[in-house]
């Protein structure tokens, strides 16, 4: 049974459609990747699915609940890691997890054990009492994933979980995401513009371009559909979107990296 189901989900900003009639379903236990260049509508899709913004038309069910009419029920079963590094720098890592464990109503008796376990698994135990302001980008991302481990949502939405991380940190985050699925049976919906990430991690990917779903399937299926030997997901993307994934993003990427640097510096 699909745990996320969208039907003609659309979002309009002024005269432009950020997301166009998106229809897709994600099965329970999947890691689903939304792939696309800057401005494709990935974040907008996630914001609708996490009840942050209402769709202009169409709709979606998460865990069987309507994202607009039953927003509160949806919020009980989901977790969300926004695109920006968003832990509170003025609190320690431990405190960040503690506050969210309370907001998500983790039973008091289990809070401490779960927080300590999550910090341990994410390799943050020795920094637990340090202010997050002093963390590196990779550490903040791991802390945010630790947050999800503490409250254990049924569906976790990750918006570009590895953007701005160096290759080692990126690899570490991928491994942790995989563990969330195996350890807690979480369904994970993530966005990325790293083909490698999608190929490595996702059971299925959707290629989004200018708000439209251009292709949908397992990485292997998509590569096979090109009928060229040794096709990569990059080739798939060029084929469906008519442009390379890595172009066009440089300005926003730098700006984002700079913003992250400023936050951490």
């Amino acid at each position: 049974m699909p745990i996320v189901e969208t039907r003609n989900l659309s979002k309009r900003y002024g005269s432009s459609l950020a997301v166009k009639e998106l229809t897709l379903s994600v099965e329970s236990g999947e890691i689903f990747g939304l792939l696309g260049p800057n401005g494709a509508g990935k974040s907008t899709t996630l914001k609708m699915l996490t009840t942050l913004i209402p769709p202009t038309s169409g709709g979606a069910l998460v865990g069987g609940c309507d994202i607009v009419r039953q927003a509160n029920a949806v919020r009980r079963i989901i977790g969300y890691v926004p695109q920006l590094l968003s832990a509170d720098g003025a609190l320690s890592g431990f405190e960040n997890l503690l506050i969210f464990s309370k907001l998500y109503e983790v039973p008091r008796a289990q809070r401490r054990a779960r927080i300590e376990e999550a910090l341990e698994v994410m390799g943050l135990s020795e920094f637990a009492r340090k202010l997050v302001r002093t963390y590196s980008g990779g550490m903040i991302r791991r802390l945010e994933i630790a947050q999800a481990m503490v409250y254990r949502p049924k569906v976790l939405f990750l918006d570009e979980p590895t953007v701005g991380l160096d290759p080692v940190a990126r690899q570490a985050v991928w491994e942790r995401i995989g563990e969330l699925r195996t350890a807690y049976g979480m369904t994970i919906v993530l966005t990325t513009h790293y083909m490698e990430e999608a190929d490595d991690l996702c059971s299925r990917v959707g290629i989004l371009h200018l708000g439209e779903m251009m292709a949908l399937g397992t990485p292997a299926e998509l590569k096979a559909s090109l009928r060229v030997p040794d096709a990569t997901l990059d080739d798939v993307f060029v084929n469906f979107a008519g442009t390379s994934l890595q172009t066009g993003g440089s300005y926003r990427d730098t700006r984002r990296a700079r913003r992250t640097a400023r936050r951490l510096g």
Binding site: K47, T50, T51, L52, I53, P54, V68, R69, Q70, A71, N72, A73, R75, R76, I78, G79, Y80, V81, P82, Q83, L84, L85, S86, A87, D88, A90, L91, S92, E95, I99, F100, K102, L103, Y104, E105, L131, R263
Partner: protein, 275 residues
């Protein structure tokens, strides 16, 4: 806008009582967050002490000497001390909404909005946080007032009510600030509007002179200004020999009502800052 209500989630098993408990618990979690931040970095509390000190030392001393303002049986300094407390609370709370814009820009607000917390609890939590910050102002103003020889009322019951009045005053202006932040959405515009608002709110009140000496139109404005009722309650509670013109009970009642209305408006508006 979504169709959901402002209140707690309505799972089928939820009674109204459980919803209220959830509202209170989540409000306290948000306030706890603020207290923890203050524990890590209290420097802001010190810098915030400068302004009320200047008002009491300079303005208060001078006007006590010239006796230009009729304050009944109170010395001018005694009359104005509660007004300066209310003012310093106002100045903290009215800029509180910028925290929401700031947190939106950092992505932090998104995570709070996605959590299963009643929107009203997120607003009230921020309001209570502003109240917590304001209490340090109260302590500073009390200390300064003591040094300047203001005749303070040391009755513990009265002091407890001062704490209530300060928290309520802060809560009202912080929720007002959240409403403004939700409407203007950017830091620059918010700062502009905040600066435009603070002075009229302060001067169109009984903070540093009695309403009776104002022109008629300003009296009307002052009576519609919740700051007036905060100051009035503080004047009745803080100063020995002071009295509340409208009664402490009605003053606090008006503040509770005004905060409740503003909370409902803010709970509806502020999820839009992420849109």
């Amino acid at each position: 806008m979504t169709h959901e209500g402002l209140g707690a989630p309505r799972a089928a098993s939820d009674s109204a009582g459980a919803a209220v408990v959830r509202l209170v618990k989540k409000t306290l979690v948000i306030a706890e967050l603020e207290v923890r931040k203050l524990r890590h970095d209290a420097t802001e509390l010190v810098t915030r002490a400068v302004q009320p000190a200047l008002w009491l030392l300079i303005f208060g001393q001078v006007f006590t000497r010239v006796r230009a303002i009729p304050t009944g049986n109170l010395r001018y300094l005694d009359f104005m001390a509660p007004g300066i407390l209310a003012q310093s609370v106002l100045f903290i709370a009215i800029f509180y909404g910028i925290a929401i814009i700031w947190e939106r820009d950092l992505g932090i607000l998104h995570k709070f909005l996605v959590s299963p917390s009643p929107r009203a609890a997120l607003v009230l939590g921020k309001a209570l946080s502003a109240g917590v910050r304001s209490l340090s102002q109260a302590a500073i103003v009390y200390l300064l007032a003591l040094l300047l020889g203001v005749r303070l009322n040391s009755n513990p019951g009265a002091i407890a009510l001062v704490i209530c009045a300060v928290i309520l005053g802060a809560a009202f202006f912080a929720t007002l600030s959240l409403v403004i932040a939700s409407l203007v959405k950017t830091r620059e515009r918010f700062m502009g509007i905040g600066q435009i608002m603070t002075m009229p709110l302060f001067f169109a009140s009984n903070a540093i002179y009695p309403i009776a000496i104002m022109p008629g139109w300003l009296q009307v404005v002052s009576h519609a200004n919740p700051l007036t009722y905060e100051v009035d309650a503080l004047r009745g509670l803080m100063i020995s020999g002071g009295s509340a013109a409208y009664g402490v009970g009605p003053d606090l009642g008006i503040l509770v009502g005004a905060t409740a209305v503003m909370t409902l408006i803010a709970a509806r508006l502020f999820p839009r800052v992420v849109a």
